[in-house]
Symmetry: C2
Subunit: 365 residues, 2 copies
DNA sequence: GTGAAAGCGCTAACAT
DNA sequence: ATGTTAGCGCTTTCAC
């Protein structure tokens, strides 16, 4: 039993041209606006436009890409989109790219945890003109990009000598968090993080600077790493619960990120500890859920909008012909958003202050 | 100051062929495995393979797409990836597609809330061979797909007469949830949902069947809609808080989805109500966070893996030449996962049972 | 102001 | 077993 005819062949430029009685080249100039010396008469233009509209013409991207040698797409190689931080990042990048006429294609990886080299290759094979890459460690992909990939790459992560990069001052963030814990009177403070984060540049930075800052206050910091991945709330919860049951040596915790902090708060609570009364908790990223929790979470907020905006413009700049600037390094400053999870007087559970230092954004040439 | 030379031109099939001393066509058969009558001698094959590896040859997708008239990509038009349900859906679809040699391109929409017609067009313009579309309402996009788009489309949503669709029995889910609330002794039960959901097929289904089921038990159900979007936890929280402060006519709540339920629980708690003691709460979707909450959430779990798997195979089937079956409708059954948010005796906060009816998957011809 | 022609990189039917 | 040929749909330089 036949249901439908084979698909209607798509309208091509040739069809439009024929129907309008002009040459394909003319139609091309009118419809796909190649900047050309060609000027067309208003009459012809309108006629072609009309015909195109009537026939529902849409340019064939593959053909355009092949001919123009650029696809007007940019690839994003980041973490799994299940992590709200990366979901947000993807959305922001896409938004800024669209403003410039580009489209975003994601190397989603289907949770297969390919190495980032494969991600890069996949993206390039898909014909992207450039790549925004979350790069937090010395990986094969990073090395590949650094020694000169066949399309421009921008890192979001730690600075590179040979590739544009945009980075956030995670150290400062950790310092602010540490000082905040001390400010509210906590003296037995620790850093709680999944093992995966220890391999990351920013993970180490957070850890180091947190400890340094705490020590500068004459306090001995504790570090509580647990076996787990960055976005795994349930591992964080289990680990925190275990930790709380086997040790009571802390009253303040900086967590690697908000997801970890959310897990931690739940684990602590299951173990009978109260947040912030017994333990103050701080996260990183300000994911949407953070402000909605029963105990809203104090967090170090990265200027993600600025980060994505910058990454996009750096990349698009590289795409301009005859642009051979040395690599840029753009640094952005985090801010701390204080909420109930670090409230001094936990009687009313709303956020009490938002401390936002002016953002620095310097350029290093 | 010059930083790097213009990009190295990519290795093309012609380069490889020349270097290996064979014709491009031969190289094409060897490297890009076009199914052809052509058989090559092992010697030549190896030589070409070696050269290709040495030169780092990768096929130009645009050229292949243009020539083959298929891109080996499938588009996904669904909700925003910030919603964990859609993030999961995207990941699953991508995974199944990869298994079949296809890639997933997402119409992410950058939070611009384009109508789905525009989404479809965007995807098609990007050259996808087929589209998986979340379709829960009579929209322009749905109509466009139903009257015959120029590539196959599969709906995830409610059944269509002219397009393949996969759907979950949301009605059954709502019924199970309603009965569960009654079972645990709740008598003043309501349905809590964002206004956006009322426009959705499944939203109405949940609402209707919930009310019907409740009435069948001789109880008068309440409906609490609030102004808001599907994935907006904060609006749900505010609405629930307001509701709790202005009315105490409920002790059991079915929420449109888990995100709404999470917001609801927080709002209720802020208003001084306890979950499940004062109000039992149920969600839909079983998002990862649901099981991790302080009060783990009872939820109606959709067989998302099965749904995505099915959508992918239906779509790929349509792509086969000479396949003209009438539209398929595949229905999947939800199950209810009972956790602490509906515990009868809320003394210990772990999940106490997982009730999973066998899944039905029928086909309608 | 418009048309002609060449070709982007690859594939598939056909010839040898 | 390999080479020839003819484009896929579009852009761009150049000629008219």
């Amino acid at each position: 039993m036949e249901h439908k005819a084979p698909e209607p062949k798509r309208t091509t430029l040739r069809n439009v041209a024929a129907e309008a009685g002009v040459h394909v080249a003319t139609a091309a100039v009118i419809l796909n606006g190649a900047r050309s010396s060609t000027v067309v008469s208003p009459g012809t233009r309108q006629r072609v436009l009309d015909v195109a509209a009537r026939l529902g013409y849409r340019a064939n991207r593959a053909a355009q890409t092949l001919r123009r040698q650029r696809s007007m797409t940019i690839g994003l190689a980041a973490g799994p989109v299940q992590n709200p931080f990366f979901a947000e990042m993807a959305t922001l990048c896409e938004s800024f790219l669209l403003d410039s006429g580009y489209e975003l294609v994601m190397a989603m990886d289907a949770g297969r945890y390919l190495d980032d080299k494969a991600l890069l290759e996949t993206l390039r094979a898909r014909g992207v003109d450039g790549i925004i890459m979350w790069s937090e460690r010395e990986t094969e992909g990073r090395r590949l990009a650094e020694k000169g990939f066949d399309c421009p790459v921008v890192f979001f992560g730690y600075p590179s000598e040979s590739v544009d990069s945009v980075t956030a001052d995670f150290g400062l963030g950790a310092q602010m968090a540490a000082e905040h814990l001390v400010d509210i009177g906590r003296r037995r403070v620790g850093y709680f993080c999944p093992s995966e984060s220890l391999a990351l540049w920013s993970g180490n930075l957070r850890l180091q600077r947190f400890c340094d800052t705490i020590r500068a206050h004459g306090i001995h910091p504790a570090v509580f790493p647990y076996e787990g991945r960055l976005g795994d709330v349930s591992r964080a919860r289990e680990a925190a619960e275990t930790l709380a049951r086997t040790s009571d040596t802390f009253d303040g915790l900086l967590c690697f990120n908000d997801l970890v902090a959310i897990g931690a708060m739940m684990g602590l609570r299951r173990a009978g500890l109260r947040v912030p009364d017994d333990v103050a908790v701080i996260g990183f990223d300000d994911v949407p859920m953070a402000s909605q929790l029963d105990t809203p979470l104090t967090t170090v907020d990265l200027p993600l909008v600025e980060i994505c905006q910058t990454a996009v413009s750096l990349l698009l700049r590289r795409l301009e012909p005859n642009y051979f600037d040395p690599p840029h390094i753009v640094r952005t400053a985090p801010s701390i958003i204080a909420r109930a999870s670090t409230l001094e007087n936990p009687s009313h559970p709303e956020s009490f202050t938002v401390q936002t230092p002016s953002r620095i954004s310097e350029r290093n040439t």
